[in-house]
């Protein structure tokens, strides 16, 4: 069952230096209880996609095109007030920096209860009980006592757990997590990822996970969308991305991972992708990876390849997809 249906999403920013095409054309669906990872390097537009779904790009210089459907209902037709009701209740977001997203002046119990009471008619007592329940859900020990804690009294990992508790307070159907573990240590990260897995398993939450870390993808994602220069270049299951990577960019990313190089016989050399990410100031009708691609042909710069099925549930935007060694 599709919970979220994003089609032909386009996001442009107007700046003093001209237009920025942050997201050029992105379409994907998210099923119930599914974890979809949006993966890419900085500037590929993955965070912009995440922020534009709940319409959090509150800048007057932004143009958003395409449609976002939640359970079939088009969110772009909602006004700001109706959208507020959706945010936090149906779709909520967890950011990378847990410190800056919590209000330092209120206890965490206060902040969780506030979100609950904003969307649900609950008494103070009931809201408090629910807050304790939520803190336990995200693995905070001694939850009842922790309600009175201020954000600065918690460690980074604990704050991120509180942020997740707030995000799932109203049992949202879709949770968008933007690099939720990037600022955290590995031993802490493992615990946070475990919470996402549990939310998916117990509550059936659908999760969009924005990350640059393919290790995180391997750990918890069901499906993966690899983004490059504002577009999805490969969309497939988490298994396929590692066993049958088909887009040359995806293959390049995997080749760049030190862990895989070690695994494949300790070859002391990583694949690097030559050249640069193109500036987001243009949107030409060509494959934007072509200048860096070992397989590029004339065709690639004449017309942009569209996402097409190469195998079951495996889409690639490339004229020369498939495994096989890149030179």
């Amino acid at each position: 069952m599709r919970v979220l249906d994003v089609s032909h999403l386009r996001v442009e920013f107007g700046t003093e230096d001209g237009r920025i095409f942050a997201v050029k054309d992105v379409s994907f669906t998210l099923g119930r209880g599914e974890i979809l990872a949006l993966v890419g390097e900085s500037g590929c537009g993955k965070s912009t996609v995440a922020m534009s779904i709940p319409r959090l790009l509150g800048d007057s210089n932004v143009t958003i095109g395409g449609s976002v459907r939640l359970n079939g209902a088009d969110l772009s037709s909602l006004n700001e007030k109706e959208m507020q009701a959706v945010r936090g209740k149906d779709i909520s977001v967890v950011f990378q920096e847990p410190m800056t997203s919590l209000n330092p002046a209120y206890t965490i119990g206060n902040q969780i209860a506030e979100v609950i009471r904003q969307h649900q008619k609950l008494s103070r007592q009931a809201a408090k009980a629910r807050a304790i329940e939520l803190l336990e859900l995200v693995g905070i020990p001694d939850a009842a006592r922790r309600l009175g804690a201020f954000p600065h009294e918690l460690s980074g990992g604990m704050r991120q757990r509180v942020m997740i508790a707030i995000a799932v307070a109203c049992d949202p159907q879709v949770l968008i997590a933007d690099e939720p573990t990037t600022a955290l240590d590995v031993t802490i990260q493992a615990g946070i990822l475990d919470i996402f897995r549990r939310l998916r398993d117990t509550l059936g939450t659908s999760i969009i996970l924005i990350t640059h870390d393919l290790g995180v993808v391997a750990d918890i994602a069901d499906r993966v969308a690899i983004m490059y220069a504002g577009r999805i270049v490969e969309l497939c299951s988490a298994q396929d991305v590692f066993s049958l990577p088909s887009h040359p960019y995806t293959r390049g990313l995997l080749g760049a991972l030190p862990a895989r190089a070690v695994m494949q016989g300790g070859r002391r050399r990583l694949t690097d992708i030559p050249g640069f990410v193109p500036p987001p100031t243009t949107d030409p009708d060509e494959c934007q990876f072509a200048p860096r691609c070992p397989r590029a042909t004339a065709e690639c710069i004449i017309r942009r390849p569209a996402l097409e099925l190469v195998a079951a549930e495996h889409e690639v935007a490339c004229y020369h997809p498939g495994p096989g060694d890149t030179p």
Binding site: S155, T187, Q189, G215, A218, Q239, I273
Partner: protein, 350 residues
């Protein structure tokens, strides 16, 4: 007979005072609390640890960007731990640093050429023309094109900047390079190219390297030997192959278990150990083993006695843990018995 090591650190301690000088709560942060390290000629030692482990402070003490509280730092056999900045200057030929953030580690008001020539200038190497030549050659060896010399750092990408930082660190031909998270701020594909350049140049120039990172996959890729740090102390140190084949310290084991690996088949079929609790604050004194509060298998002795860093199963595999024995080797941390520390959750993802 062994060759003299390039770097020999013994009993290194760095404590910071926090709080006001005029009364109020003053506390001591034990950033580094007794660290021993040796780096041989042409060797890359990976120093791995989480935030707050003190790994960066070790790097700062070794490169004398800060003065150690106690202990000795021998660079090519000479103790540099107590030298003043003036006395240290001649030794700066031998050790240089590469920082994490390529956006703040280069002077924004200097061109790339000036930045790379700066160490030569400070040490009075050659005349201006010779310096320009040396700098240009060094830039080329890091894979940067000729025309980049007249550009300013803000005009470069993160990867290019890090190459400039590398060229600057290597232009004097140091014996030791301290690289503090040099690839952590970079995207994977850029990270790969920088790691390649470091390895190529290392093979070429033969410098030793203290490579500080939190990323296990990077440390596994680049290091000859690895030291695992936790709360100001070395928990375990051995060769790369040995550490990943037989991680002995419970902290090392949980670190390896928690690290995400880009291989779903491998990741999802293993039991992962998720540590409870967070890293204790380094300003609160800890008794016994620094890891005991989070260790799933800690016993009473771990709370009271500090385990020495010793080669228990092999002379080249040093571990600071009471539970590692010569007979049975490393303890199994997924089977806690009589635990004094935190209880981990063992989770099988598949």
């Amino acid at each position: 007979m062994t060759e003299q090591p390039v770097l020999e650190v013994t009993g290194l301690v760095k404590h910071y005072q926090t709080g006001s000088r005029l009364g109020g709560a003053r506390s001591v942060v034990r950033a580094v609390d007794g660290v021993d390290l040796t780096i041989g000629r042409g060797e890359i030692l990976g120093l791995v640890g989480e935030s707050g482990s003190g790994k960066s402070t070790v790097g700062k003490c070794v490169s004398r960007l800060t003065t150690p509280t106690s202990g000795t730092v021998k660079l090519l056999g000479r103790d540099i731990s107590t030298l003043t900045r003036g006395q240290m200057r001649p030794f700066r030929n031998d050790v240089h640093v590469v920082f994490q953030d390529p956006f703040s580690s280069l002077n924004p008001r200097m061109t790339v050429g000036q930045i790379v020539m700066e160490p030569l200038r400070q040490h009075g190497h050659g005349n201006r023309r010779e310096r320009i030549g040396t700098a240009a050659e060094m830039l080329e060896r890091t894979g940067l094109s000729h025309d980049i010399r007249s550009r300013y750092p803000h005009e470069l990408s993160g990867g290019q900047r890090q190459r400039v930082a590398l060229a600057r660190a290597l232009v004097l031909g140091p014996s030791l390079v301290v690289a503090d998270e040099p690839v952590s701020a970079l995207d994977v594909s850029v990270q790969a190219s920088i790691l390649n350049v470091i390895l190529d140049l290392q093979a070429d120039m033969g410098f030793s390297c203290l490579f500080i990172t939190h990323d296990l996959s990077v440390v596994e890729f680049i290091s000859d030997r690895i030291a695992v740090m936790y709360l100001g102390k070395i928990m375990e140190t051995t060769t790369r192959g040995e550490l990943f084949r037989d991680p002995q310290h419970p902290y090392t084991q949980s670190l390896l278990s928690a690290a995400p690996v880009a291989d779903p088949a491998g990741v999802r079929n293993r039991d992962r150990i998720i540590l409870s609790g967070d890293l204790p604050s380094p300003s609160e004194p800890v008794t016994g083993c620094p890891f005991h509060s989070r260790c799933p298998i800690a016993i009473e002795k771990c709370v009271t006695d500090v385990p020495p860093l010793a080669g228990i199963t092999a002379p080249d595999h040093l571990t600071a843990c009471h539970l590692v024995t010569a007979e049975s080797g490393a303890p199994d941390i997924s089977a806690p018995i009589n635990s004094m520390g935190g209880t981990p959750s063992v989770h099988n993802a598949s």
